[in-house]
């Protein structure tokens, strides 16, 4: 069903040194239904990851995205897989948005060979280069210059494509953002800096970490938009606008006002530095899935029952993927030594006891 629906964004865009896009966003019934399904899948996937973590099937750090789903799906709906995306460690849903599969997600989370990084990357290091997803980066802020570098390559190759570099409100204070932004502006790189402002960097509220938490004005001389990041349609509109802008004029900043329901990572209960009321308030009033559900219902695009069925289906897909992932084998021991280099020259590399374990690098 592809007739055009025009829907108003929840709140106006706030702009800095540029026009605002229109609040009226064109969409279609099928787009809204796919937003619903995709976000429900992401939500369910993250909840399942939480359980798997608690069951000790996932190890180490694990950063969940529930609450922020509208950013991933809205952005994808505005661009193509030739555009590039790069993000931080909170990367499961961004990966899914790029066309990654649930099996790849859960296998990677459990360190199995069907993972998108064959089990060697882990939660923070998902990639899908064939559809323009460049990770999955663990060092706060690093993905910003990296993303500008992707944009550099796109411009160099005259691709007509752009890069979206996502980072958090905490990361927005990093000096390398300013350095990369300045260079991008000097060179008119088609880079879109997307600050996913979920209002906390770990346990630190934005205002405790930033003298100026107007992240869409960062650097001052680059245009920026503040966007309701809980509204997939607003995100879509902003990303469309930004892509056009970036191709014509170089970098632009999008600040997505969003929220993470979970704690920062699995070791953070997420409730010492914010109130339960704050969390439940956002859930009730701004939840990105509920917003789309309401739109679908109010436009009679599906019944409540149909949406519940979608949720059930999605749940089953997630459960199936987990079951499959659990069957996926651990990597072979020799994988310890693969991919250290793209070209290993047949050099010898060593294990912990070099007289016992050594391998020839492929």
């Amino acid at each position: 069903d592809t007739r055009t629906l025009t829907i108003e964004t929840s709140v106006p865009f706030t702009s800095h040194k540029c026009e605002s896009p229109s609040r009226s966003v064109d969409t279609t019934p099928s787009e809204l239904l796919s937003f619903f399904r995709d976000m429900a899948t992401m939500r369910r996937m993250e909840i399942a990851a939480d359980s798997l973590y608690k069951a000790k099937l996932i190890r180490g750090f694990c950063h969940l995205y529930d609450g922020q789903e509208a950013v991933a799906v809205g952005m994808e709906s505005a661009i193509t897989k030739k555009d590039s995306i790069i993000t931080a460690y909170r990367d499961h849903c961004t990966f899914l948005g790029r066309g990654g599969t649930l099996l790849e997600v859960f296998s990677e989370l459990m360190g199995r060979i069907h993972g998108c990084s064959k089990g060697k990357g882990g939660s923070m290091h998902f990639y899908k280069k064939d559809s323009g997803f460049y990770g999955g980066h663990g060092i706060v802020g690093a993905q910003i210059p990296l993303g500008c570098g992707l944009a550099f390559a796109q411009k160099y190759k005259k691709d007509g494509t752009v890069t979206f570099a996502l980072y958090g409100d905490g990361a927005a204070n990093q000096g390398q953002l300013f350095e990369a932004l300045n260079i991008s502006a000097l060179w008119d790189l088609p880079a879109i800096l997307v600050c996913e402002n979920n209002h906390y960097g770990m346990g630190t509220a934005e205002w405790r970490a930033a003298k100026s938490p107007s992240y869409y004005k960062r650097g001052d001389y680059v245009p920026g938009l503040k966007v309701d990041g809980m509204d997939a349609l607003a995100v879509k509109q902003a990303c469309k606008f930004a892509k056009e802008h970036a191709l014509k004029n170089g970098p632009i900043i999008l600040e997505m006002d969003t929220y993470r329901y979970h704690g920062h990572s699995m070791s953070d209960p997420g409730s010492t530095y914010r109130t339960r009321d704050e969390i439940s308030g956002v859930r009730q009033e701004r939840d990105p899935i509920e917003r789309i559900r309401k739109l679908i219902l109010s436009h009679d695009l599906a019944t409540e029952k149909e949406l519940k069925d979608t949720e059930k289906e999605v749940r089953k897909l997630v459960d199936d993927a987990i079951a499959q992932a659990k069957e996926s084998p651990m990597p072979e021991p020799h994988e310890l030594f693969t991919n250290v280099y793209a070209k290993g020259y047949g050099v010898e590399a060593f294990g912990a006891d070099r007289k016992e374990v050594r391998a020839v690098l492929p």
């Binding site: 996932i58 190890r59 180490g60 750090f61 990677e108 360190g111 199995r112 990084s117 089990g119 060697k120 990357g121 882990g122 939660s123 923070m124 290091h125 980066h137 663990g138 060092i139 706060v140 802020g141 905490g170 990361a171 204070n173 990093q174 000096g175 960097g201 770990m202 346990g203 630190t204 405790r208 970490a209 930033a210 010492t272 530095y273 651990m330 990597p331 021991p333 020799h334 994988e335 310890l336 030594f337 250290v340 590399a349 060593f350 294990g351 912990a352 006891d353 070099r354 007289k355 016992e356 374990v357 050594r358 391998a359």
Partner: protein, 336 residues
């Protein structure tokens, strides 16, 4: 009495802050959050926000600020949430902190401590598992400490804070929750360990095993196993990587005539390489077998549990190497 390494670090910080008003703590989440790993628990409450400072996630900025404060005579303790993030600030550690006293011929001393968990944890992947011991210890002007037990943690951290020079203090996340027996002396607020001195954790006569941080525990376990097979291993807890206690190491090797070095970091230009070379330089004639080096595998840290296990030393690696050094036959496994 027992104490966890976490409590040992926490109490050392607490005591030194209470003893010297110039000492303050700065880093990400050290205050309201009580520390990402809860090392600074309770300190904000006790010392207030002027002395326990939550910073933005901007390592270069706050590390530079810490070093500048030390130039002016304060005694900052800078927490890196993990040492992986110290790379964003490494220019300040090397160029601004380590070299200033020398460049100024003693005018600008830099009494600062950089501390936090270093090296491999569990399941955190390639970007969060780097061991920086050898990098920092290669640099004159720095002192590099690597506590293992709660005694080490207390004694060395207190020494680091009192020291007038920049100290890189490398903790280990996986040890934070471990308990160790502590004596009354260790618990006394005057307790302090000497910088630059290794500790013989276990005496032995057949083979010397050097280790630091978490690997000391592995070396001790290996020594127990070896003892059952009639090999008496001497285990040296290095405690300080720079200045390295060459004399304790050499004295031990001159007695045992065999050396195994153990570390979790990458092998090339690592701690083991330096120890081996020091022994070759000073005690060549005493060595009855090739020095054996046990280290992290020479690959980025993989996430998958089975590969991760292969990427860091295990007790059996140490045992095997010690047997080789003692010419006990060990069956060779196939290469990976």
């Amino acid at each position: 009495k027992e104490m966890t390494v976490r409590d040992a670090l926490n109490s050392a910080l607490d005591e030194e802050m209470s003893a010297d008003p110039k000492v303050f703590l700065m880093g990400e989440e050290v205050g309201e959050y009580q520390g990402a790993y809860k090392i600074s628990k309770g300190l904000l409450d006790k010392y207030g926000p002027d002395r326990v400072l939550d910073t933005p996630i901007t390592e270069a900025g706050f590390t530079g600020i810490g070093v500048g404060a030390a130039y002016h005579g304060l005694r900052p303790v800078i927490e890196f949430m993990t040492f992986n993030f110290s790379m964003q600030a490494i220019d300040h550690i090397i160029n601004s902190a380590a070299k200033s006293n020398y460049m100024s011929s003693g005018q600008i001393s830099v009494p600062i401590v950089f501390r936090g968990p270093n090296g491999a944890a569990a399941g955190v992947g390639a970007q969060h598992s780097h061991c920086y011991a050898s990098w920092y210890a290669s640099c004159p002007g720095l002192k590099v400490l690597t506590p293992y037990s709660s005694e080490d943690a207390r004694g060395l951290l207190k020494a680091a804070i009192r020291d007038p020079d920049p100290v890189v203090f490398l903790e280990n996340e996986l040890l934070y929750g471990e308990s160790f027996p502590v004596s009354a002396e260790v618990l006394d607020s005057s307790f302090c360990l000497p910088i630059g001195k290794a500790k013989i954790e276990r005496e032995g006569k057949d083979v010397t095993i050097t280790a630091f941080s978490k690997m000391v525990g592995y070396a001790l376990k290996a020594a127990e196993i070896l003892a059952k097979e009639g090999i008496s291993a001497e285990v040296i807890n290095l405690r300080t990587i720079r200045p390295l206690d060459r004399s304790t190491i050499n004295a031990s090797v001159r007695k045992t005539n065999r050396l195994i070095t153990v570390e979790e970091g990458f092998p090339q230009h690592g701690v083991g390489a330096e120890i081996c070379t020091s022994v070759v330089e000073e005690s060549f004639g005493y060595l009855d077998a090739p020095v054996e080096r046990i280290s992290g595998a020479d690959v980025p840290m993989p996430y998958a549990a089975n590969l991760e296990r292969l990427a860091v030393p295990q007790v059996e690696d140490i045992v095997r190497a010690a047997k080789r050094a003692c010419y006990r036959s060990v069956p060779m496994a196939a290469a990976a």
